[in-house]
Symmetry: C2
Subunit: 356 residues, 2 copies
Amino acid sequence: MKNTALIMAGGRGERFWPRSRKDLPKQFLCLTDDGKSMIQLTVERIRGLVDIEDVYIATNQNYKNLVMEQLPELPVENILCEPVGKNTAPCIGLGAVYIAQKYQDAIMMVLPSDHLIKHNKMFLKTLKDAIEIAEEGRNLVTLGITPTYPETGYGYIKFDGEAVCGNGYAVEKFVEKPDYQLAREYLNSGEYLWNSGMFVWKVSSILDNIQKFMPATMEGLNRIKAAIGTEAQQEVLVKEFTEFESESVDYGIMEKADHIFIIPGAFGWDDVGSWNAVERIKQTNELGNTVTGNIITIDTKNCIIEGHDKLIATVGLENLVIVDTEDATLICNKNNTGDIKKILENLRICNRTEYI
Amino acid sequence: MKNTALIMAGGRGERFWPRSRKDLPKQFLCLTDDGKSMIQLTVERIRGLVDIEDVYIATNQNYKNLVMEQLPELPVENILCEPVGKNTAPCIGLGAVYIAQKYQDAIMMVLPSDHLIKHNKMFLKTLKDAIEIAEEGRNLVTLGITPTYPETGYGYIKFDGEAVCGNGYAVEKFVEKPDYQLAREYLNSGEYLWNSGMFVWKVSSILDNIQKFMPATMEGLNRIKAAIGTEAQQEVLVKEFTEFESESVDYGIMEKADHIFIIPGAFGWDDVGSWNAVERIKQTNELGNTVTGNIITIDTKNCIIEGHDKLIATVGLENLVIVDTEDATLICNKNNTGDIKKILENLRICNRTEYI
């Protein structure tokens, strides 16, 4: 069966401000040392399993040009522009009907475009294991990440250690972001994995489940599918998609469906959730600094400093994130990166949209 | 007797980097809220006592244009360009012979160009008291500052509380920058004042003393004086000045001379020795931040932030100095401003003179 992939790239993440902007969100940034953007790395990573003409990118109209620029080999008709964000379930449904329109049936991988994976070979091996399970019946496979600390920012998935299918385990339940105490219990129990938001299934399997649990959405998707390649394509897409209920695939489908399996991955996954992640994914020097650009540091430790041509000189600093761009400079305590959104709120209130 | 002033403006202070540069040292910067540079404030301050045509500026060729720009009313022939820095004694001698060439005798005030004074009226009153003493015999008067804490960065002057002359006290000795323990003793004794580097004397008095204690310098100064207004003026100045021994007036003259008096001043003197001084001389907001430019602060306390048009956003910071200029940004712990010179050393070693 053909392998296909839907890469979700509609996010508007604010946590990498001032580098990320409404016109240049995280998935289009180069955050690693190799000069490739996160979406480029995502596509490159699966090229051994999926032909480029079978890679679909779900994004929105604002980012279409960025996708074309960064992925010049991708057929432009594979860029699916959501007229409005409706969370992951409608997005996945849209990808599924486009693939279904091309192939009678196919394996469909669903991947976020703004996560990093360190061990690509292990990742591909895990995907192959997932494909093997997904090819059976109506199985839906999710990739779980073996947790290494009690993270409170991720969803968790409880699995049944007995019920196995290939290298996968039967999923008992999806749980939302826990508090610290609960996260520790999940970690210590050994029965939970982090929810990575990566899925593998047959197109027919996911569409069957959408039909079953989100029938109204499925009706709209069918109308969108019927219009693909016709003159009405865009008009139908806008009309139907706009009316979809906003729903995540986790809660709209995965929580309710049968035959859900999870494969634990240990392929060096990182969701690069904030500037703090940069020191995990880039070279740090002997003082713990991660430095890019024209920088002089004096008595400076454990700082992340991203500049360009302009000289940045630091003296006596510790534990800061410093990011300089053409029109804005951020200086943020590493313990407060969650509050970068307050800057954006402030800018929005003052209508200073040029900085957002 | 005519009042004249020599304002010393040849300094190359590095402590306000990146705003101060070799082509724009501290005395030409606006560091206060009123939009005037330190040298402009210095001249303005004494305008009630000295006519502008009797104000002389000692500087060097590199800064001549800056002086002309910032002090357009000053006669250009009053800008005395030292061919090379030789510390304060030769500089003062140069000013003295220029004034002596114009007036038979005159009161000469010597003032640094890069200090601030908060209470101008009290300062003028102190200068008048000093003039009164200086007009007697061969008296040399220095303005001392009543110390308020055990500063280790200034010289101190010990005075004799009994031997008074008008509002002045006889000076016992000049002492160099003390260590902390000694500075505390000086402070507690009540017998020491800070050395402000401001002097008042008759031109004839200082020239007599130069003749007595630095006779070789006096010979050269006489040759410079003889050449003033002739075609050879510049050539003689360069030749003679270059051969002067480098010497401060404190140690070359004041330590050795008789009839030295000091007037304690409490006119809100500030030598603005580092970025930390900015919060003493500018408005701070309710969180202790001193902010100029296009700034958004989130959870930021006791910081000095100087920007311009470019947005600077801070999150979770405390006790930092942040200075943004066209081509360089400094981020410095307030406790480490003394190490800013290390940045300049680094730049010099790497021959990156564009930033110096």
